[in-house]
Symmetry: D2
């Protein structure tokens, strides 16, 4: 009974328009910053650096599951205080060096406060997961004054994102035989390494091309 | 002089609002169809099949270059009649089988007339280029009646799209030494093969995962 | 009990992704058509004819209320068969003649089937409500073939829309004294007449201006 | 010759991506703030307060014309220093009191610096023009630090916006006979008064309705 009430109270607070408006505002601010950086880089490099940007507000189910897993109380204050990914934005770049350039430019902006940086590219997770995670705070201005809102931004390459699709499929499966699961985990980890290898050899080739000859004046996304 | 006039006349016709409005309408129609299919597949498969959709109207410069390369006269009628990619939409999918499923569903729609299908996935270009190209016609309804508008749709995987980024960089370079160019071309072709290999092994693993156990009920893009 | 079940079943069908996707597709198609017409008119007239476009899918609550009011059974088939406004789009124009021009162009498009036309501008409702209502059907193409989807499109002027804001406020009030209600209704009806008068005198003045002198070449939304 | 060069140099600077990106960023920030306020007001008042939001970056032609009219030198620094409307956003509200509430909330936000406020509602221009103009500065964060960008925000009611459509038509006419022009100006000024009258009587009626009875629980944009 108490458990049900806690969940319902949490749900009510997470669905309240005041909460959602602030989350959406924070998402829009980060998206806007990323889009502007993307445009700036296009002018500077003559090529797109971001393939796509996605975002999400963490669902009630997902918050509850995470709190439970971390053995934390199921309430709004705990969720806001302990989970840094209630609001999430993901930028998928073409190359690994673009990931770092983009993250650095964003962190250099005065109104972005970096709370935490976890580099799962330099030091991937055991399962093979690669991404650069930034937890940042951005100011939300309302008539009551200025409030800081936390956002987790994930930067990754298209190759890392492709890999993550499979990891994600697996993570929502249950009742899998232990042996099969281990087998798949092993394959996934191996493919993560291959992806990282491909990423780097492609980046090296790109740099080699960049140093070559001269550019023609007008560019356009080619259709072969 | 005549050359300059031909170019200017072509430019005028390509920048006329009547032409651009029809191109934009055709792009929006195809994008809308792809977005709806993406939603349908999400409901069916429980995972995203499209990573992103982009589009472009071919620029005057690019049209002129292509006509010149094909030794065709530089005028609007020739451009419209001979170039099938004046209006282009690109759908980048996660997996190769998604590319075919998506293309099939689109081709099955009554108001989409397939003019040509070029499968550069089954039979890649010599340089390593992989993509499935559809040239289709969609009806544009105006007060004067119904007009068919041609659109080239490119379907590819994120891996193929990543590769194409490099090919694109190279294709806008000039004054490159013959030897260097051949060296890079060779590397690109090799990487295209590797990408295709990765694509298939990832797809096989995805299918293996799909057959496993049972799904948990609610899904959400995970943040690790 | 039966009532509750009927409502829940209706809700389930109205929230099913298949239903919502088709509704959204129909909305997008109509919005796209209106936006293209808006652009065409801008090229033709040198001024914007549409102030804004909005849309909505009728909520479960609202559907249930309407079925109940019409003493119809509370089920999905009845809702789809008897209510023509499950999917609604509204185009707010600046001038009354723009309303008719826009509606005519839309109706002239081959893939738009007009089911019903109710002209509450020429013959306003008793309460003073002015708008032109079109019920149309547009084809939705899926892999199963072509399906017709019904959409109600409301065309009105900004003045009529302004008036409707008040009528809307009033319509969601309950427990109002009979005398007060009648008083307000009377005022509203009177203001509707005044609005219609303003609309026409403004339109006449616009036509007078249009016939005058010559246009300067470049136009831009002025900032005084 | 010098004149032509000045114009070309101005054009070059106004079309440079660095300039345009900052303008677009400023527009997006203001639009985002207005959209969030719109949502907040919807939660508070149960009705929409903004009918639509538009924006524009002032064109080269329009800047040149304005500098010339003010007998100022035709260069970028002068344009940036002396013209406060290079970047413009317009919010059209339903009611006059909404205009003030919205402007106040925006001005109360810490990161919005009000440079100037011109109230053409309380004190309309001679021709009848009504609007509330705010010139504000918002911070644009780039890797070089924080830069202030000026934006002119125009707040008006739908009735004032409707009127402005006609004024705008007239303002782009030339070679009009003096007598005819005066006649039309006079009519326009008269209609501006009528609009203001309508605006106030509608607002009074809205307030009368707001005080009445009780609200039904769920609201939806009605379709009559």
């Amino acid at each position: 009974m108490a458990k049900k009430n806690a969940r319902e109270k949490l749900m009510q607070e997470l669905l309240a328009p005041e909460y959602r408006l602030k989350c959406e505002y924070a998402i829009h601010i980060i998206e806007l910053k990323l889009e502007m950086l993307m445009e700036q880089f296009y002018v500077e490099c003559g090529r797109p650096v971001i393939s796509n940007i996605t975002s999400r507000i963490k669902t009630v189910d997902s918050i509850e599951r995470k709190l439970r897993k971390k053995k934390l109380p199921i309430d709004f204050a705990t969720a806001e205080g302990k989970l840094s990914d209630l609001v999430g934005v993901r930028a998928t770049c073409f190359f690994e060096d673009d990931v770092y350039k983009l993250a650095e430019r964003l962190m250099a902006q005065e109104d972005v406060t970096v709370i935490r940086k976890k580099d799962y590219i330099k030091k991937p997770k055991e399962n093979g997961y690669h991404s650069l995670h930034l937890t940042v705070e951005v100011p939300i201005y309302t008539q009551e004054g200025c409030e800081k809102k936390r956002v987790e931004i994930q930067f990754r390459t298209v190759a890392m994102d492709f890999w993550a699709q499979l990891d994600y499929q697996l993570c929502y499966k249950k009742n899998i035989e232990e042996k099969t699961s281990q087998q798949i985990q092993k394959k996934l980890a191996k493919y993560a390494d291959e992806m990282a290898g491909i990423d780097r050899q492609m980046m090296r080739l790109r740099r080699q091309i960049e140093k070559l000859g001269t550019n023609t004046e007008t560019k356009e996304q080619p259709v072969e």
